[in-house]
């Protein structure tokens, strides 16, 4: 085989294989979980005033929106049957918090509290038991 033909063949093969293999990428879900942890920390931090808390939450929103979309568009997560991935997709409202709250036109913290089981009724019931 001529060198030029051989080079073209090798290149074609490499491209075909490269395309088929795809680029291995991991970490979208881990990044989302980390950013969501910072948001929850902002919800719960007793050292923050109301204005400061809201500013922190609003500042984190765009990053969370991007990360939530990255996770949902990440094909490498499809069918990856690990505990982390299973847990992430078990509850859309909790994992994709910003999208869920925008869909429901509710505050982020409300949706989050609801998903972890804290509602007005449970708080009132807890208060009644305490009294």
């Amino acid at each position: 085989m001529k060198p030029v033909t051989k080079a073209i063949t090798v290149a074609a093969l490499a491209i075909a294989l490269g395309t088929a293999t795809g680029v291995a990428r991991a970490g979208t879900l881990e990044n989302l979980e980390r950013e969501r942890a910072f948001l929850v920390k902002a919800f719960l931090d007793p050292g923050l005033g109301t204005a400061e808390r809201l500013a922190k939450i609003d500042a984190g929103k765009p990053r969370l929106i991007d990360l939530e979309r990255m996770v949902l568009r990440d094909d490498t997560l499809t069918g990856r049957n690990t505990p982390v991935v299973r847990k992430a997709f078990a509850n859309y409202d909790l994992t994709f918090l910003v999208h869920a709250s925008a869909e429901k036109s509710r505050a982020l913290v409300d949706v989050w509290l609801e998903q972890i089981g804290v509602t007005t009724d449970t708080v009132m019931a807890a208060g009644a038991v305490g009294n």
Binding site: A16, A20, P62, R69, G79, N81, H99
Partner: protein
């Protein structure tokens, strides 16, 4: 008897004997024992089945054929085919010469013709073994490729299916709520769209254009056999069947070759007998005359 005739007889006897041995050992009439000469056959080691299985179907066969042509087995097959071509020409020339010759020259040419036929059969046997080796290698490769495809398509566990279903639902939900979320988050607030969001939109358009081009690309078109479109798996199965057929035909070729070898051996025996008959005609065997014919010699003094 002249020295020339003596050597011819010796040659004919050797050819006949070798012919019979060839029929019995090298070219088994009943196929299925081809391993006698296999040890010295050059090999072909195709590239890994995992890589081949990823190639477009139209490129797969060409890639395999080229890989084979560049292998020691392919080179040996080419060389043998060239030799068979030359040997065929020699046989044709000799056959014509035999028809035009007479006497002792004709006998010698017939012997030469037989010897060349034996050499031709040797080459044909070698070619059949090379073809068989190629077909076996291809068959093993196609079986591995089919295994790889089956491995990729293996059924998911119930929990994986459940996960995929949830992921599909989540993606559908994102898609259906995308506009609403953008409106809520970006239109009412002062924050601009992120770099990711802007670039993602541009990239999606580019990807769609590229996919459209890929779908219409000539090398990405599905293959057809008898006008019926085939998937990659069907195409590999089709090639596996072709390799199986080649193996079966190689067995049949062996049978034909066995019969040819037998005919060469029979011709050699016949030629040997003809030579002996001619010799016997020149110097007949001693007779066995009894004493009765000499009685008259003893009847008088």
């Amino acid at each position: 008897m002249t020295n020339r005739t003596k050597s011819l007889r010796l040659l004919l006897a050797t050819t006949a004997l070798a012919g019979w041995l060839a029929v019995g050992e090298v070219y088994p009439v009943m196929a299925g024992e081809p391993d006698v000469l296999v040890a010295s056959i050059p090999t072909w080691s195709p590239q890994s089945s995992e890589r081949l299985v990823r190639l477009p179907p139209s490129y797969l066969k060409k890639s395999l054929d080229r890989d084979f042509a560049e292998s020691p087995l392919g080179a040996a097959l080419n060389e043998t085919e060239a030799k068979i071509g030359h040997k065929g020409n020699t046989l044709a020339d000799l056959q014509a010469s035999v028809e035009q010759s007479e006497g002792e020259l004709r006998l010698e040419l017939r012997h030469q013709f037989l010897a060349e036929k034996r050499a031709y059969l040797d080459l044909m046997a070698n070619q059949i073994d090379l073809h068989r080796q190629q077909a076996k290698t291809r068959l093993k490769l196609f079986e591995r490729m089919l295994d790889d495809l089956a491995h990729k398509k293996r059924p998911d566990t119930p929990s994986t299916r459940e996960l995929v279903a949830k992921q599909t639902l989540a993606r559908d939900r994102l898609q259906s709520s995308l506009a609403k979320v953008d409106l809520k988050v970006f239109e009412t607030a002062t924050m601009p769209e992120s770099r990711y969001a802007v670039k993602y939109g541009q990239n999606v358009q580019a990807i769609e254009q590229l996919l459209s081009r890929i779908n219409t690309h000539g090398m990405n078109q599905s293959l057809t056999a008898g006008g019926i479109e085939m998937t990659k798996e069907e195409f590999i199965r089709h090639m596996a069947v072709e390799a199986e057929a080649e193996l079966a035909l190689a067995d049949q070729d062996d049978t034909i070759l066995g019969y040819m070898a037998k005919l060469v051996a029979l011709d050699a025996v016949s030629l040997s007998e003809e030579a002996m008959d001619a010799e016997l005609a020149d110097s007949p065997l001693p007779g066995n005359a009894g004493p009765a014919k000499a009685v008259n010699f003893f009847m008088s003094n």
